[in-house]
C-alpha cells in the first residue's frame, strides 16, 4: 500500500511544482494548496501505514501487543493542516487585494515595489 501512496505523493508534488512555476498568482496559490496536501500525505506515510486496528492495551501490559497505527504523525498532520489552511486563506485574500489594487495577477507585472525604471544612485555631486 505504501508504494501506491508514495507514487500518489510524487504526483501531487509534480502538479504542485508545475503550478507554482506559473506566472499567474492564482495558479501558484493552487500549487501551494496541493503542495501542502502532498507534504501532509508524506508525513502520514512516514509514520508507516497500518490497517485499522483498535489501539487498545491489554490489562497486563504497558504497550499494545499488536501493531497499531502510529498516532503521532496524525497529530503532526492535523497541526500542519490547520496551519497551511489558515495561511492559504490569508494568501487568497492577499492575492485578491493585490489583484484589486495592482490590476493584475501576473507576478511579472507586479513591479510596484521594484520598478523597472529603477535609477542608479548618483555618481557624484
Amino acid at each position: 500500500m505504501e508504494t501506491g501512496v508514495v507514487i500518489l505523493i510524487g504526483l501531487f508534488f509534480t502538479v504542485a511544482v508545475y503550478l507554482m512555476l506559473s506566472q499567474q498568482l492564482v495558479r501558484m496559490l493552487l500549487g501551494i494548496a496541493i503542495l501542502g496536501n502532498a507534504v501532509n500525505m508524506l508525513i502520514f506515510t512516514n509514520g508507516r501505514l497500518i490497517r485499522e486496528v483498535p489501539p487498545l492495551i491489554p490489562e497486563h501490559l504497558y504497550s499494545p501487543d499488536v501493531a497499531t497505527a502510529n498516532p503521532l504523525p496524525q497529530a503532526l498532520v492535523l497541526t500542519a493542516i490547520v496551519i497551511s489552511f489558515s495561511f492559504f486563506a490569508f494568501l487568497l485574500v492577499l492575492a485578491f487585494r493585490a489583484y484589486q489594487e495592482l490590476g493584475t495577477d501576473g507576478v511579472n507585472e507586479m513591479r510596484l515595489a521594484e520598478p523597472e525604471d529603477d535609477q542608479t544612485p548618483p555618481q557624484g555631486y
Binding site: I32, G47, E59, Y62, L76, L94, M110, A113, P121, P122
Partner: protein, 532 residues
Amino acid sequence: MAGSSVSVDLTQAMATAPVAAGDWLVVAPALITMLGGSLCLMLRKNTDLQPKVGIGFLGLLVLANLALLIRVLDHGVITMVMGSWLPPFGIAFTVDTLGAMLSLIGSVVAFCAGVFGAATIDSTGRRYGFYPFLLLLMTGVCGAFLTGDIFNLYVWFEVLLISSYGLLVLGNDRIQLDGAVKYGVLNLVGTNLFLIGTGMLYGIFGTLNMADLAQKVAALEDPASGTLATVAALYFLAFAMKAAAFPVNFWLPASYHTPNVVVSAVFAGLLTKVGVYALIRVFVLILPASRGYLSDVISLVAVATLLTGAFGALAQTEIRRLLGYLVIAGIGSMLAGIAVGSTLAISGAIFYAVHSIIVMTALYMAAGVMEMMGGSYDLRKLGGLYQKSAAFAAVFLVLAFAVSGLPPFSGFWPKVMLVDAAFSDGRSWLGAAILVSGFLTTLAMGRIWIFAFWRGGPEGTPDGQTAPVTAGTALSEAQLSGSAVWLPLGILTALVIYFGLQPEWMLELSTQGASGLVEPLGYLRSVFGVQG
C-alpha cells in the same frame, strides 16, 4: 481504566518531581508575549493605552529573558517538558546559552521597536494591530530560540510568519500588497520544505526531539548518506530561503522596504536571523556529518550571498532597499561560519548574528529618522543632514562603521573570528570574500554618508553650498522632538559601541554557545537527565 488492578509505574513515562520555580522561566517568554498580545488585541480601539501596555510587556519580556540567560549561565542547559511527559515523548523546551542569548537580544530589539513604533505608527496602524502582531511575532521568535523539538520549531516558525504577514501589510498600501505577495508565497514554500524534511526525519528515526535525534544520528554508521543526505539538503534549502541566502534571496529586497520603517527594522533584525539560528541548530547539533558533507556547497552559497548583498547594496538609491541588501550580505558572513564549522567559526557566526540583529534594526531606524528629517528615502533627494543634526550624523557613522565591520564597533570582532576560522580551515577564498564584501559595504555606506549628510542639499547642490534644508512636515517634526525616536536608536547604538569596546562578554557567551553545540554533552544530559 476504572477498576483496573494493574498499577502503572508513572515514573517511567512522566516527570513526577515538580518543576523548580526558576525553571518556569523557560516558558515565560512565550507566555508573556502571548498574554501581552491578547491584551493589546482587546485594547485594539484604545490607541493611547495600547503602546503603553505593549511596551510594558516587551520590557517584561526583556527582563524574563535576562533572568533566563543568567539562570542558564549558572545552572547549565535547562529542559522543561510539556505535560511532564519525559523526552523524547513530550515536547521539550531546551534552553542553552545560544538560545537564551539570542532570545534576550531579540527581545531587546523588539522592545526598542515597540518604543520607536509609538512615534511612527499612527492610530490607524495601532487599530490594525501593530502591537498585538509585534508581541505575537516575538512569541514565535522566542519560541523558536528556546524549543528543543524540531516539529515545535516548525510551529514557532509559522507563528512568527503569520504575525509578520500581519505587520507587512499593516496600512494596506499598494506597494505593501506587492511586497507581501512575494514575501508570503516564498516564505510559505520555505516552511513547507522544512516540514518535508521534518516528516522524513521522523520517518527515519521515529523521534522529533532534537537531543534524541542528535544521539540517534551520531549512532549511525554512515551518518551523511542515504535519506539523511536528502533531509539535510531540504533543510539547507528551507533555512537558506528563510535566511535569504543566494539564490533564494529575492523576496527580501522585494518586500523589506515596503512596510512602515519600524516594521522593516524588526524584520531585518530578527526574521532572517531565526533562519540562521535554525541552520546552526540543525546542522551543528543534529546533523554534524551532513554539515561536513555539505560544507563546500555552503561555502559557495556563502560567497555568492556575500557578493550579491554587497553589489546589490552598491546599486541602490533607495536607502531601505540598500539596507535590505546589507542584511543579505550579513547572512553570507554567518553562512561562512557554518560552512567552516569549527568552534571558532560557529561562535563567530553566533556573535555576528547578535551584531547583525542589533545593527540592522538600528540602521533601519536611522533610515526612518533620515526620512523624517529630509522627507525622502532617496539618495538623490536627501542632503544636508549633517547640518540638521550633527549628533544624529555621529550615530549614523557609528552604525555605518559597525555594519562594514570596521573597528572599534561590534561588527569587527565576529568578522575577525570568521576570517581567522576560514583561513585556518584552508578556505582562504571564503575569508577573502568576507573581506571584499566588507569593503564594498563600506563603499555603499560611505555613499549614504556623502550624499545624505555631507552634500548641502538635494542632487544638483554645488559643492560647498547649502541648499535650504527641506522643511519637515509638522508630523515628522513632532516625531523627532519626542524621545520615542531617540531612545531606541540610542540604546541600540550604545550596544553597538559597547560590544565593540568590550567584546569579552559576548565572546565568552558565543564561544560557550558554540561549544555547547559542537560537543552537546550538556544538552543531551539536560534533556535525558530529567528522568533522574
